[in-house]
Symmetry: C2
Subunit: 166 residues, 2 copies
Amino acid sequence: MDPNPIGFQKHDHSHCVADAVAEADRTCQKAGLQLTPVRKRALEILLEEHRALGAYDVLARLSEDGFGSQPPVAYRALDFLTKNGFAHKIERLNAFIACAHPGDIHTPAFLICTTCDAVAEAETDPSHSLLNQIADTTGFRISRAVLEAEGTCPNCLANDGAADKK
Amino acid sequence: MDPNPIGFQKHDHSHCVADAVAEADRTCQKAGLQLTPVRKRALEILLEEHRALGAYDVLARLSEDGFGSQPPVAYRALDFLTKNGFAHKIERLNAFIACAHPGDIHTPAFLICTTCDAVAEAETDPSHSLLNQIADTTGFRISRAVLEAEGTCPNCLANDGAADKK
DNA sequence: GCCCGTCACGTAATAACATAACACACCAAA
DNA sequence: TTTGGTGTGTTATGTTATTACGTGACGGGC
Ligand SMILES: [Zn+2]
Ligand SMILES: [Zn+2]
Ligand SMILES: [Zn+2]
Ligand SMILES: [Zn+2]
């Protein structure tokens, strides 16, 4: 198990947490949002993982860092992050992940590896999404879309292949 | 609130429950699956609603009908129904709904009205779905996809329009 | 007949996820 | 100074889901 990828590629993780937090800081400045200590720490926790964390996982770490230890502490921070585009909730997992493309308004799509638990956030082109076509033909107005696929990531497929060979 | 539509249209509900159950019966016969009393009743309960029901809602009704009253009773029945294509779980709602197109192997897409709680199951063409395109380019192998859109259904949009006029 | 494996069903207990309600601190506007 | 808003913390509770364990029904070997 290697719960490390963005997308499913290895990457230099050394600076991406700090960079993402700094960008969130700037964004909040501009938008008049308060990236308070709990909220910032929650974002860091998500960024440190690059996989989906349950609210209680986040809570445990926040609590270790001296923040409150009760569920609302985590849920409120996660709520702020998701409402403002810094994180997403993966419905299939009841878990949260840092946004891989913050700043843009976007409809994220997620690829969830059931073998190694990695989660990749893909960009989508909302205009020719399947759901929008359906919505057009039925007259439904979409406000939010959930696109999540479970399966096996390239890395785990490769490992399977290797396993098969021996 | 009119929690009645399939898709979002009114329909003759008189026979559809019985028909669907009968078809499920046939399908199970052919496939060597046991549509036992609890499972059949759970399917009926979902069909009687045409909207998403929580597992505990289903459980309550099963229990009223003399079946067990503990969570696994409902979860096991719902598990059977979803695994075999007679029902789907709506991840966004943590709730279950009878399949509107049983028999076919399909990747369902759901339109969830946040005003009236109606849920429509749309057919999708998996081959040019967004997720498959993403999967192709990233080398991810999809085993299951979740496609759910929240928004406002045609009926509720019409009502809004009417409300605005007065 | 009996032994066994499998499957469905039932229970109790608990885990995991999420929200309601209330108190206090802080800060800025009136 | 008072007042209102926002953020953080708490306790308590609600909701969703699973684990663990035991029983009865059925079918195939022996
Ligand atoms: Zn990173
Ligand atoms: Zn993987
Ligand atoms: Zn019907
Ligand atoms: Zn509606």
